[in-house]
Symmetry: C2
Subunit: 247 residues, 2 copies
Protein backbone atom coordinates (compact mmCIF):
# COMPACT_ATOMS: atom_id res chain seq x y z
CA UNK A 1 0.00 0.00 0.00
CA UNK A 2 0.95 3.65 0.11
CA UNK A 3 -0.13 6.90 1.68
CA UNK A 4 -0.05 10.19 -0.21
CA UNK A 5 -1.83 13.47 0.48
CA UNK A 6 -2.18 16.50 -1.76
CA UNK A 7 -3.50 19.63 -0.10
CA UNK A 8 -4.82 22.86 -1.60
CA UNK A 9 -3.99 25.96 0.47
CA UNK A 10 -4.41 29.63 -0.26
CA UNK A 11 -0.64 29.83 -0.04
CA UNK A 12 -0.15 27.07 -2.58
CA UNK A 13 -0.05 23.26 -2.70
CA UNK A 14 1.49 20.77 -0.28
CA UNK A 15 2.30 17.22 -1.35
CA UNK A 16 3.52 14.40 0.85
CA UNK A 17 4.10 10.76 -0.02
CA UNK A 18 5.50 7.76 1.81
CA UNK A 19 8.07 5.51 0.14
CA UNK A 20 7.14 1.96 1.04
CA UNK A 21 6.14 -0.57 -1.57
CA UNK A 22 5.46 -4.18 -0.91
CA UNK A 23 4.78 -7.31 -2.86
CA UNK A 24 3.59 -9.44 0.01
CA UNK A 25 4.63 -8.87 3.58
CA UNK A 26 8.09 -10.33 3.09
CA UNK A 27 9.11 -8.22 0.14
CA UNK A 28 9.21 -4.54 0.96
CA UNK A 29 11.30 -1.81 -0.63
CA UNK A 30 11.67 1.94 -0.70
CA UNK A 31 10.60 3.80 -3.84
CA UNK A 32 9.99 7.45 -4.50
CA UNK A 33 6.31 8.05 -5.34
CA UNK A 34 6.56 11.74 -6.14
CA UNK A 35 7.65 13.18 -9.47
CA UNK A 36 8.01 16.87 -10.35
CA UNK A 37 8.18 18.50 -13.79
CA UNK A 38 8.98 22.17 -14.07
CA UNK A 39 9.80 24.94 -16.51
CA UNK A 40 10.81 27.73 -14.13
CA UNK A 41 8.79 30.89 -14.57
CA UNK A 42 6.26 28.96 -16.61
CA UNK A 43 4.96 25.87 -14.79
CA UNK A 44 5.50 23.36 -11.97
CA UNK A 45 3.60 20.06 -11.90
CA UNK A 46 3.76 17.39 -9.20
CA UNK A 47 2.48 13.81 -9.48
CA UNK A 48 2.05 11.26 -6.67
CA UNK A 49 0.99 7.66 -7.17
CA UNK A 50 -0.55 4.77 -5.26
CA UNK A 51 -1.12 1.29 -6.58
CA UNK A 52 0.79 -1.19 -8.70
CA UNK A 53 4.40 -0.01 -8.83
CA UNK A 54 5.04 -1.30 -12.35
CA UNK A 55 2.05 0.71 -13.54
CA UNK A 56 2.96 3.93 -11.76
CA UNK A 57 6.62 3.74 -12.81
CA UNK A 58 5.59 3.16 -16.42
CA UNK A 59 3.27 6.18 -16.27
CA UNK A 60 6.00 8.42 -14.86
CA UNK A 61 8.57 7.14 -17.39
CA UNK A 62 6.22 7.71 -20.31
CA UNK A 63 5.42 11.23 -19.13
CA UNK A 64 9.12 11.87 -18.62
CA UNK A 65 10.14 10.65 -22.08
CA UNK A 66 7.48 12.77 -23.71
CA UNK A 67 8.64 15.87 -21.89
CA UNK A 68 12.23 15.28 -23.01
CA UNK A 69 11.78 14.57 -26.70
CA UNK A 70 10.71 17.90 -28.07
CA UNK A 71 10.02 16.60 -31.54
CA UNK A 72 7.51 13.96 -30.57
CA UNK A 73 3.97 14.75 -31.60
CA UNK A 74 2.43 13.51 -28.37
CA UNK A 75 1.74 16.42 -26.00
CA UNK A 76 4.01 16.64 -22.97
CA UNK A 77 3.50 17.91 -19.45
CA UNK A 78 5.85 20.75 -20.35
CA UNK A 79 3.69 21.74 -23.34
CA UNK A 80 0.03 21.35 -22.30
CA UNK A 81 -1.70 24.73 -22.05
CA UNK A 82 -3.53 24.20 -18.72
CA UNK A 83 -3.63 22.05 -15.59
CA UNK A 84 -6.91 20.59 -16.82
CA UNK A 85 -5.20 19.42 -20.01
CA UNK A 86 -2.32 18.08 -17.91
CA UNK A 87 -4.79 15.99 -15.89
CA UNK A 88 -6.45 14.72 -19.09
CA UNK A 89 -3.10 13.71 -20.51
CA UNK A 90 -1.89 11.93 -17.37
CA UNK A 91 -5.24 10.17 -17.01
CA UNK A 92 -5.03 8.97 -20.61
CA UNK A 93 -1.50 7.63 -20.12
CA UNK A 94 -2.57 5.86 -16.92
CA UNK A 95 -5.55 4.23 -18.62
CA UNK A 96 -3.39 3.05 -21.52
CA UNK A 97 -0.73 1.52 -19.28
CA UNK A 98 -3.34 -0.35 -17.24
CA UNK A 99 -5.07 -1.62 -20.39
CA UNK A 100 -1.79 -2.81 -21.88
CA UNK A 101 -0.85 -4.78 -18.78
CA UNK A 102 -4.33 -6.20 -18.39
CA UNK A 103 -4.33 -7.40 -22.01
CA UNK A 104 -1.16 -9.47 -21.91
CA UNK A 105 -2.96 -12.60 -20.90
CA UNK A 106 -0.70 -12.96 -17.87
CA UNK A 107 -2.71 -12.84 -14.68
CA UNK A 108 -1.32 -11.45 -11.46
CA UNK A 109 -2.89 -11.78 -8.05
CA UNK A 110 -3.06 -8.07 -7.63
CA UNK A 111 -4.51 -5.91 -10.35
CA UNK A 112 -2.54 -3.36 -12.31
CA UNK A 113 -4.57 -0.46 -10.96
CA UNK A 114 -3.19 2.82 -9.72
CA UNK A 115 -4.58 6.11 -8.49
CA UNK A 116 -2.78 9.43 -8.88
CA UNK A 117 -2.75 12.89 -7.35
CA UNK A 118 -1.72 15.64 -9.78
CA UNK A 119 -1.26 19.27 -8.82
CA UNK A 120 0.52 22.38 -9.91
CA UNK A 121 0.20 25.58 -11.82
CA UNK A 122 0.71 26.70 -15.42
CA UNK A 123 1.20 30.36 -16.30
CA UNK A 124 -2.10 32.09 -16.91
CA UNK A 125 -4.12 29.77 -14.63
CA UNK A 126 -4.54 29.20 -10.89
CA UNK A 127 -2.89 26.40 -8.91
CA UNK A 128 -5.07 23.29 -9.15
CA UNK A 129 -5.22 19.81 -7.65
CA UNK A 130 -6.66 16.62 -9.22
CA UNK A 131 -7.35 13.04 -8.20
CA UNK A 132 -7.02 10.66 -11.16
CA UNK A 133 -8.74 7.26 -11.11
CA UNK A 134 -7.48 4.10 -12.83
CA UNK A 135 -10.47 4.32 -15.18
CA UNK A 136 -8.92 7.47 -16.62
CA UNK A 137 -11.40 9.99 -15.26
CA UNK A 138 -10.58 12.50 -12.56
CA UNK A 139 -11.98 15.01 -10.08
CA UNK A 140 -10.69 18.37 -8.95
CA UNK A 141 -10.25 19.68 -5.41
CA UNK A 142 -12.64 22.47 -4.51
CA UNK A 143 -13.56 24.44 -1.43
CA UNK A 144 -15.59 21.57 0.05
CA UNK A 145 -12.95 18.93 -0.66
CA UNK A 146 -9.69 20.79 -0.44
CA UNK A 147 -7.38 17.77 -0.12
CA UNK A 148 -7.02 14.31 -1.62
CA UNK A 149 -5.63 11.15 -0.07
CA UNK A 150 -4.67 7.98 -1.92
CA UNK A 151 -3.60 4.55 -0.69
CA UNK A 152 -4.12 3.69 2.98
CA UNK A 153 -6.28 6.75 3.66
CA UNK A 154 -8.48 5.91 6.64
CA UNK A 155 -6.18 6.09 9.68
CA UNK A 156 -4.90 9.55 8.84
CA UNK A 157 -8.20 11.04 7.72
CA UNK A 158 -9.88 12.13 10.98
CA UNK A 159 -7.11 14.58 11.90
CA UNK A 160 -7.08 16.06 8.39
CA UNK A 161 -10.85 16.51 8.42
CA UNK A 162 -10.68 18.22 11.80
CA UNK A 163 -7.62 20.42 11.55
CA UNK A 164 -7.31 21.47 7.90
CA UNK A 165 -7.73 25.20 7.27
CA UNK A 166 -7.43 26.70 3.79
CA UNK A 167 -5.38 29.62 5.07
CA UNK A 168 -2.91 27.61 7.16
CA UNK A 169 0.81 28.14 6.57
CA UNK A 170 3.08 25.58 4.88
CA UNK A 171 4.72 25.01 8.26
CA UNK A 172 1.37 24.22 9.91
CA UNK A 173 0.33 22.04 6.98
CA UNK A 174 3.59 20.08 7.17
CA UNK A 175 3.02 19.49 10.88
CA UNK A 176 -0.56 18.35 10.23
CA UNK A 177 0.57 16.02 7.45
CA UNK A 178 3.33 14.50 9.57
CA UNK A 179 0.77 13.78 12.32
CA UNK A 180 -1.55 12.20 9.75
CA UNK A 181 1.32 10.11 8.34
CA UNK A 182 2.46 9.12 11.83
CA UNK A 183 -1.05 7.90 12.73
CA UNK A 184 -1.06 5.78 9.58
CA UNK A 185 2.44 4.45 10.17
CA UNK A 186 1.58 3.39 13.71
CA UNK A 187 -1.37 1.32 12.52
CA UNK A 188 -0.30 -0.12 9.18
CA UNK A 189 2.83 -1.95 8.07
CA UNK A 190 2.37 -1.11 4.40
CA UNK A 191 3.08 2.57 4.90
CA UNK A 192 6.64 3.59 5.80
CA UNK A 193 9.05 6.48 6.15
CA UNK A 194 10.92 8.34 4.73
CA UNK A 195 8.29 10.79 3.49
CA UNK A 196 8.88 13.03 0.47
CA UNK A 197 7.34 16.48 0.42
CA UNK A 198 6.93 19.44 -1.89
CA UNK A 199 5.51 22.84 -0.87
CA UNK A 200 4.59 24.73 -4.02
CA UNK A 201 4.15 28.53 -3.57
CA UNK A 202 1.16 29.79 -5.53
CA UNK A 203 2.13 31.91 -8.55
CA UNK A 204 5.84 31.10 -8.14
CA UNK A 205 5.68 28.90 -11.28
CA UNK A 206 8.70 26.90 -10.16
CA UNK A 207 9.44 24.00 -7.86
CA UNK A 208 9.14 25.10 -4.25
CA UNK A 209 10.70 23.64 -1.17
CA UNK A 210 11.16 19.88 -1.36
CA UNK A 211 12.74 17.39 0.97
CA UNK A 212 12.55 14.03 2.67
CA UNK A 213 11.62 13.36 6.29
CA UNK A 214 13.33 10.22 7.60
CA UNK A 215 11.93 8.09 10.40
CA UNK A 216 14.83 9.15 12.61
CA UNK A 217 14.40 12.83 11.76
CA UNK A 218 14.56 14.76 15.05
CA UNK A 219 11.46 16.83 14.30
CA UNK A 220 9.41 13.84 13.16
CA UNK A 221 10.35 11.97 16.32
CA UNK A 222 9.30 14.94 18.44
CA UNK A 223 5.94 15.06 16.62
CA UNK A 224 5.46 11.31 16.89
CA UNK A 225 6.21 11.22 20.61
CA UNK A 226 4.54 14.52 21.41
CA UNK A 227 1.36 13.63 19.57
CA UNK A 228 0.46 10.75 21.88
CA UNK A 229 0.80 13.02 24.88
CA UNK A 230 -1.03 15.88 23.16
CA UNK A 231 -3.91 13.52 22.31
CA UNK A 232 -4.19 12.33 25.89
CA UNK A 233 -4.19 15.95 27.07
CA UNK A 234 -6.87 16.75 24.49
CA UNK A 235 -8.98 13.87 25.81
CA UNK A 236 -8.52 15.14 29.35
CA UNK A 237 -9.82 18.54 28.27
CA UNK A 238 -13.15 17.04 27.22
CA UNK A 239 -15.85 16.84 29.90
CA UNK A 240 -16.17 13.53 31.78
CA UNK A 241 -18.80 10.96 30.82
CA UNK A 242 -21.27 10.30 33.63
CA UNK A 243 -22.18 6.66 34.17
CA UNK A 244 -25.35 6.03 36.14
CA UNK A 245 -25.16 4.16 39.47
CA UNK A 246 -24.44 0.44 39.37
CA UNK A 247 -27.75 -1.40 38.97
CA UNK B 1 -20.64 -1.72 7.70
CA UNK B 2 -20.49 -1.43 11.46
CA UNK B 3 -18.18 -0.29 14.19
CA UNK B 4 -17.84 -2.16 17.50
CA UNK B 5 -15.11 -2.05 20.13
CA UNK B 6 -14.58 -4.35 23.08
CA UNK B 7 -12.04 -3.19 25.62
CA UNK B 8 -10.34 -5.02 28.48
CA UNK B 9 -9.69 -2.89 31.55
CA UNK B 10 -8.49 -3.76 35.03
CA UNK B 11 -11.86 -2.51 36.22
CA UNK B 12 -13.77 -4.77 33.84
CA UNK B 13 -14.94 -4.78 30.22
CA UNK B 14 -16.39 -2.00 28.09
CA UNK B 15 -18.40 -2.73 24.97
CA UNK B 16 -19.70 -0.23 22.44
CA UNK B 17 -21.48 -0.83 19.13
CA UNK B 18 -23.09 1.37 16.52
CA UNK B 19 -26.53 0.53 15.14
CA UNK B 20 -26.40 1.23 11.43
CA UNK B 21 -26.90 -1.52 8.91
CA UNK B 22 -27.09 -1.02 5.21
CA UNK B 23 -27.84 -3.02 2.11
CA UNK B 24 -26.54 -0.56 -0.40
CA UNK B 25 -26.39 3.15 0.22
CA UNK B 26 -30.11 3.66 -0.27
CA UNK B 27 -31.26 1.06 2.22
CA UNK B 28 -30.13 1.83 5.74
CA UNK B 29 -31.74 0.83 9.01
CA UNK B 30 -31.06 0.78 12.72
CA UNK B 31 -30.42 -2.56 14.41
CA UNK B 32 -29.03 -3.44 17.79
CA UNK B 33 -25.71 -5.26 17.41
CA UNK B 34 -25.13 -6.03 21.09
CA UNK B 35 -26.66 -8.95 22.98
CA UNK B 36 -26.22 -9.77 26.66
CA UNK B 37 -26.87 -13.05 28.48
CA UNK B 38 -26.70 -13.18 32.24
CA UNK B 39 -27.34 -15.33 35.28
CA UNK B 40 -26.87 -12.80 38.07
CA UNK B 41 -24.25 -13.86 40.60
CA UNK B 42 -23.01 -16.49 38.22
CA UNK B 43 -22.18 -15.03 34.78
CA UNK B 44 -22.58 -12.13 32.34
CA UNK B 45 -21.71 -12.55 28.64
CA UNK B 46 -21.83 -9.86 25.95
CA UNK B 47 -21.73 -10.42 22.19
CA UNK B 48 -21.26 -7.80 19.45
CA UNK B 49 -21.40 -8.51 15.74
CA UNK B 50 -20.25 -7.05 12.44
CA UNK B 51 -21.05 -8.41 9.01
CA UNK B 52 -24.05 -9.87 7.25
CA UNK B 53 -27.10 -9.01 9.37
CA UNK B 54 -29.00 -12.19 8.51
CA UNK B 55 -26.02 -14.21 9.72
CA UNK B 56 -25.49 -12.29 12.95
CA UNK B 57 -29.20 -12.27 13.80
CA UNK B 58 -29.39 -16.02 13.20
CA UNK B 59 -26.39 -16.58 15.47
CA UNK B 60 -27.91 -14.51 18.27
CA UNK B 61 -31.32 -16.18 17.88
CA UNK B 62 -29.81 -19.67 17.97
CA UNK B 63 -27.78 -18.82 21.07
CA UNK B 64 -30.87 -17.30 22.63
CA UNK B 65 -33.08 -20.29 21.93
CA UNK B 66 -30.52 -22.66 23.34
CA UNK B 67 -30.23 -20.64 26.54
CA UNK B 68 -34.01 -20.68 27.01
CA UNK B 69 -34.77 -24.36 26.43
CA UNK B 70 -33.26 -26.04 29.45
CA UNK B 71 -33.92 -29.54 28.19
CA UNK B 72 -32.09 -29.27 24.91
CA UNK B 73 -28.87 -31.25 24.80
CA UNK B 74 -26.90 -28.55 22.99
CA UNK B 75 -24.85 -26.54 25.46
CA UNK B 76 -26.06 -23.01 26.12
CA UNK B 77 -24.26 -19.78 27.00
CA UNK B 78 -25.90 -20.05 30.42
CA UNK B 79 -24.47 -23.53 30.96
CA UNK B 80 -20.90 -23.56 29.55
CA UNK B 81 -18.31 -23.85 32.31
CA UNK B 82 -15.87 -21.15 31.13
CA UNK B 83 -15.50 -18.16 28.85
CA UNK B 84 -13.20 -20.21 26.65
CA UNK B 85 -15.99 -22.79 26.17
CA UNK B 86 -18.43 -19.94 25.51
CA UNK B 87 -16.17 -18.66 22.74
CA UNK B 88 -15.86 -22.16 21.26
CA UNK B 89 -19.63 -22.57 21.27
CA UNK B 90 -20.37 -19.19 19.69
CA UNK B 91 -17.66 -19.75 17.08
CA UNK B 92 -19.17 -23.11 16.21
CA UNK B 93 -22.67 -21.63 15.83
CA UNK B 94 -21.27 -18.83 13.65
CA UNK B 95 -19.45 -21.26 11.38
CA UNK B 96 -22.56 -23.42 11.00
CA UNK B 97 -24.82 -20.50 10.11
CA UNK B 98 -22.36 -19.23 7.49
CA UNK B 99 -21.98 -22.71 6.00
CA UNK B 100 -25.74 -23.21 5.80
CA UNK B 101 -26.28 -19.94 3.97
CA UNK B 102 -23.36 -20.51 1.65
CA UNK B 103 -24.66 -23.98 0.77
CA UNK B 104 -28.12 -22.98 -0.43
CA UNK B 105 -26.98 -22.46 -3.98
CA UNK B 106 -28.35 -18.93 -3.93
CA UNK B 107 -25.59 -16.43 -4.50
CA UNK B 108 -25.66 -12.96 -3.02
CA UNK B 109 -23.38 -10.11 -3.98
CA UNK B 110 -22.11 -9.80 -0.46
CA UNK B 111 -20.90 -12.83 1.41
CA UNK B 112 -22.55 -14.21 4.50
CA UNK B 113 -19.52 -13.53 6.65
CA UNK B 114 -19.58 -12.03 10.12
CA UNK B 115 -17.05 -11.29 12.84
CA UNK B 116 -17.90 -11.24 16.54
CA UNK B 117 -16.56 -9.82 19.79
CA UNK B 118 -17.42 -11.91 22.84
CA UNK B 119 -16.59 -10.92 26.39
CA UNK B 120 -17.68 -11.51 29.94
CA UNK B 121 -17.05 -13.53 33.04
CA UNK B 122 -18.18 -16.85 34.46
CA UNK B 123 -17.87 -17.62 38.17
CA UNK B 124 -14.50 -19.14 38.98
CA UNK B 125 -12.68 -17.47 36.08
CA UNK B 126 -11.41 -14.01 35.19
CA UNK B 127 -13.16 -11.59 32.81
CA UNK B 128 -12.07 -12.38 29.25
CA UNK B 129 -12.47 -10.93 25.78
CA UNK B 130 -12.44 -12.77 22.43
CA UNK B 131 -12.51 -11.91 18.74
CA UNK B 132 -14.27 -14.61 16.71
CA UNK B 133 -13.60 -15.00 12.99
CA UNK B 134 -16.11 -16.23 10.37
CA UNK B 135 -13.95 -19.34 9.92
CA UNK B 136 -14.89 -20.35 13.43
CA UNK B 137 -11.55 -19.78 15.11
CA UNK B 138 -10.87 -17.01 17.61
CA UNK B 139 -8.22 -15.04 19.48
CA UNK B 140 -8.17 -13.65 23.00
CA UNK B 141 -7.26 -10.18 24.19
CA UNK B 142 -4.02 -10.01 26.15
CA UNK B 143 -1.79 -7.34 27.62
CA UNK B 144 -0.31 -6.44 24.23
CA UNK B 145 -3.66 -6.33 22.44
CA UNK B 146 -6.10 -5.25 25.10
CA UNK B 147 -8.97 -4.25 22.81
CA UNK B 148 -10.68 -5.53 19.67
CA UNK B 149 -12.40 -3.58 16.92
CA UNK B 150 -14.65 -5.03 14.24
CA UNK B 151 -16.25 -3.49 11.16
CA UNK B 152 -15.02 -0.11 9.97
CA UNK B 153 -12.00 -0.09 12.26
CA UNK B 154 -9.39 2.17 10.70
CA UNK B 155 -10.63 5.73 11.33
CA UNK B 156 -11.09 5.21 15.05
CA UNK B 157 -7.95 3.20 15.66
CA UNK B 158 -5.20 5.85 16.06
CA UNK B 159 -6.84 7.46 19.09
CA UNK B 160 -7.41 4.05 20.75
CA UNK B 161 -3.78 3.05 20.16
CA UNK B 162 -2.55 6.31 21.65
CA UNK B 163 -4.85 6.86 24.60
CA UNK B 164 -5.84 3.42 25.92
CA UNK B 165 -4.59 2.63 29.42
CA UNK B 166 -5.42 -0.66 31.15
CA UNK B 167 -6.17 1.08 34.43
CA UNK B 168 -8.43 3.80 33.03
CA UNK B 169 -11.87 4.25 34.60
CA UNK B 170 -15.12 3.31 32.85
CA UNK B 171 -15.87 7.02 32.52
CA UNK B 172 -12.54 7.70 30.78
CA UNK B 173 -12.98 4.62 28.59
CA UNK B 174 -16.48 5.74 27.56
CA UNK B 175 -15.11 9.17 26.63
CA UNK B 176 -12.29 7.59 24.61
CA UNK B 177 -14.73 5.28 22.83
CA UNK B 178 -17.11 8.10 21.98
CA UNK B 179 -14.22 10.04 20.44
CA UNK B 180 -13.20 6.96 18.45
CA UNK B 181 -16.81 6.45 17.29
CA UNK B 182 -17.20 10.12 16.45
CA UNK B 183 -14.05 10.05 14.27
CA UNK B 184 -15.46 7.06 12.41
CA UNK B 185 -18.90 8.61 12.05
CA UNK B 186 -17.45 11.80 10.61
CA UNK B 187 -15.63 9.89 7.88
CA UNK B 188 -17.92 7.00 6.98
CA UNK B 189 -21.61 6.84 6.12
CA UNK B 190 -21.95 3.16 7.01
CA UNK B 191 -21.45 3.77 10.74
CA UNK B 192 -24.22 5.59 12.60
CA UNK B 193 -25.55 6.55 16.02
CA UNK B 194 -27.13 5.66 18.39
CA UNK B 195 -24.37 3.70 20.11
CA UNK B 196 -25.13 0.93 22.59
CA UNK B 197 -22.77 0.38 25.49
CA UNK B 198 -22.20 -2.00 28.36
CA UNK B 199 -19.70 -1.46 31.18
CA UNK B 200 -19.17 -4.79 32.96
CA UNK B 201 -17.62 -4.55 36.44
CA UNK B 202 -15.04 -7.29 36.98
CA UNK B 203 -16.18 -9.95 39.46
CA UNK B 204 -19.72 -8.53 39.65
CA UNK B 205 -21.04 -11.53 37.65
CA UNK B 206 -24.07 -9.59 36.49
CA UNK B 207 -24.90 -7.11 33.75
CA UNK B 208 -23.34 -3.75 34.54
CA UNK B 209 -24.37 -0.33 33.36
CA UNK B 210 -25.84 -0.32 29.89
CA UNK B 211 -27.35 2.40 27.79
CA UNK B 212 -27.64 4.04 24.41
CA UNK B 213 -25.97 7.27 23.32
CA UNK B 214 -28.06 9.06 20.67
CA UNK B 215 -26.60 11.40 18.07
CA UNK B 216 -28.39 14.32 19.75
CA UNK B 217 -27.22 13.30 23.22
CA UNK B 218 -25.94 16.46 24.91
CA UNK B 219 -22.71 14.86 26.13
CA UNK B 220 -21.94 13.26 22.78
CA UNK B 221 -22.47 16.58 21.04
CA UNK B 222 -20.12 18.26 23.49
CA UNK B 223 -17.48 15.59 22.81
CA UNK B 224 -17.97 15.79 19.06
CA UNK B 225 -17.69 19.56 18.95
CA UNK B 226 -15.03 19.82 21.64
CA UNK B 227 -12.83 17.19 20.03
CA UNK B 228 -12.19 19.21 16.88
CA UNK B 229 -11.07 22.13 18.98
CA UNK B 230 -9.05 19.92 21.33
CA UNK B 231 -7.27 18.36 18.35
CA UNK B 232 -6.38 21.74 16.91
CA UNK B 233 -5.06 22.81 20.31
CA UNK B 234 -3.06 19.59 20.52
CA UNK B 235 -1.54 20.32 17.10
CA UNK B 236 -0.67 23.82 18.25
CA UNK B 237 1.18 22.38 21.23
CA UNK B 238 3.56 20.48 18.94
CA UNK B 239 6.72 22.31 17.85
CA UNK B 240 6.59 24.07 14.47
CA UNK B 241 8.04 22.49 11.36
CA UNK B 242 10.89 24.53 9.88
CA UNK B 243 10.86 24.86 6.11
CA UNK B 244 14.13 25.92 4.51
CA UNK B 245 14.33 29.20 2.59
CA UNK B 246 12.59 29.38 -0.79
CA UNK B 247 15.04 28.15 -3.45
Amino acid sequence: MTYCVGMMLKQGLVFMSDTRTNAGLDNISTFRKMAIWEAPGERSITLMSAGNLATTQAVVSLLDERSKSQEERAPSLLAVPSMFQAARMVAEVLREVIEQHADTGQRADSTFNATLILGGQIKGGPHRLFLIYPEGNFIEAAEDTPFFQIGETKYGRPILVRAYEPDMSFEAAMKLLLVSFDSTLKANLTVGAPFDFHCYDADSLKTGRTGRVASDDAYFQKVSEGWGEALRDALDMLPEFTLGPTP
